[in-house]
């Protein structure tokens, strides 16, 4: 389908480049090295970081921000390591994801992937305790992902019943793992989140 040039947003590239990590977007010369080496392309056939960058440079803001493929990047850095133009591809994609999250917060976009919920739930643990608390993370993430507390708990049991027993038997998780490992000066970490956000 041809691009509707009158619907392009010429400012989108600047919006990305103003996000930390998005700075080098404009250096891309479309060689496709990133896509060719990306392990996700072997599983998700539509996945194409080169194309996401091209569409971003063209200003196809809506199409880019609503692309479900944004949320399956592994941050494995294969693309970044190979890009001849030193585009930090993986950071560019993450900058785009953060713009999409802001759009969703503003009520202008619906993200189908649960990934933003997971990342937020993860960071909430750090904000509260200074370290990751696995159980706290699961208790926040699953209900949000499934849409209700009961459904969330059921999904969590399904994913973690065998795994939890296995970890318990091997004494990788004991009664101590039930409680968060809280650092002493949580106020210092809280300040980071207050001033930067997540």
């Amino acid at each position: 389908m041809p691009i509707k040039t009158w619907e392009l947003d010429p400012n989108f590239r600047n919006e990305i480049m103003n996000e930390p990590g998005g700075e080098h977007l404009a250096a891309c010369f479309q060689c496709s090295t990133c896509t060719l080496g990306c392990p996700i392309t072997e599983i998700v056939s539509s996945y194409n970081p080169r194309k996401i960058i091209q569409m971003s440079l063209l200003g196809m803001r809506e199409e880019v921000l609503s692309n479900p493929d944004l949320w399956v990047c592994l941050i494995c850095q294969t693309c970044t390591a190979r890009c001849p133009q030193d585009v930090v591809v993986s950071d560019v994609l993450s900058a785009i994801r953060r713009i999409a999250e802001k759009e969703e917060e503003a009520g202008k976009l619906k993200i189908e992937s649960p990934r933003p919920l997971f990342d937020k739930a993860f960071l909430h643990q750090l904000e509260k305790y200074g370290r990751l608390y696995d159980i706290g993370l699961a208790k926040e993430y699953y209900p949000k992902k499934e849409g209700s507390f009961i459904k969330g708990m059921r999904a969590m049991m399904k994913d973690y019943k065998d795994f939890g027993m296995r970890m318990f038997k091997k004494r990788k998780m004991g009664p101590k793992a039930m409680f968060p490992e809280k650092i002493k000066r949580t106020d210092e970490v809280k300040k980071i989140f207050e001033k930067i956000g997540d």
Partner: protein, 288 residues
């Protein structure tokens, strides 16, 4: 490295799924006569979930500043912690305005850029050195190994300390202790799928399965790796992967610190080898 002491950053998995990695790291350094002083009151590095680089820099500035006060370089056994610590270190070292920004957030982030962050593998091979390790080796570990490097040892270029396409540091250690590396070059640095475990388990399982099956096809007795997320995917979740995809793998997975520990003559229990989900008795049995 300042004499015989390093600041130690265990990382969050050290309290649970990667307690064996933590145990073996501590035991190996003790045996090598290098003191590890745990970074006092350390906080999480942000893992793969903190996506905003500024947030990552701030979280890690706090840990770097604590170690800097002691005048010690930081060492960590976790590849993701290493990546976050060292990329923050480099960004902060080279940018006074970024350091000022950190100080504005909180005094505890006042890092001056005076230390380095390193991964244990880098310290073993490039700091302690093969000659010194060779002198301390007490046992031969006669195993066929698939050396699995994952993402953050050779990538991205700013923090890499090994070759991005064909890393060799673990291979060298494995050969030093009498093991044999199977042909695994095309899989060595491919992602295990871990970052998508909680949001796209189907993709994560498929990727982990590919690594496990490649090791099996190559005739390996075990996979050796250096990252707790890889460890969780390939070992702790291996029975879940077998069940979900209706396959049988049974591939033991151990950390490089555990393998080195065996060669240094450390007791397998002290190295946490009994804690793996897939039994490691056969590997321990090959120590002579």
């Amino acid at each position: 490295m300042n004499g015989k002491k390093l600041a130690y950053y265990p990382g969050c998995p050290s309290a649970g799924t990667a307690v064996d990695q933590d145990m073996s790291t501590r035991a190996v350094f003790e045996k090598l006569g290098i003191e590890l002083a745990e970074v006092e009151d350390w906080n999480c590095c942000g893992a793969a979930e903190a996506e905003n680089p500024i947030l990552v820099y701030a979280l890690n500035a706090r840990n770097l500043a604590i170690a800097e006060k002691e005048g010690l370089d930081i060492v960590t056994p976790c590849s993701i912690c290493y990546y976050n610590l060292e990329r923050s270190n480099i960004a902060l070292k080279n940018d006074e305005s970024l350091r000022a920004k950190m100080r504005d957030i909180d005094g505890s982030l006042d890092y001056k850029g005076g230390i380095k962050a390193r991964h244990v593998l880098d310290v073993f091979v490039n700091e302690i050195g093969m000659e010194e390790l060779k002198r301390k080796i007490e046992k031969k570990v006669n195993v066929k190994v698939a050396p699995y490097y994952g993402c953050y040892l050779g990538r991205p270029p700013v923090t890499a300390f090994d070759d991005p396409d064909d890393p060799i540091l673990m291979d060298q250690l494995i050969e030093l202790i009498g093991g044999e590396c199977v042909d695994f070059s095309y899989m060595k640095t491919k992602c295990c799928g871990g970052p998508l475990m909680m949001t796209r388990a189907d993709i994560a399982f498929e990727m982990a399965k590919n690594v496990l099956e490649a090791a099996k096809r190559a005739g390996a007795d075990c996979i050796v790796l250096a990252c707790p997320l890889c460890g969780m995917m390939l070992d702790a979740k291996q029975p879940d992967i077998e069940k979900a995809l209706n396959i049988k793998i049974g591939m033991p997975v151990i950390y490089i610190t555990q393998l080195l520990g065996l060669a240094l003559g450390i007791d397998s229990k002290k190295l946490g080898l009994d804690k793996a989900a897939v039994d490691t008795k056969e590997i321990v049995g090959k120590v002579v």
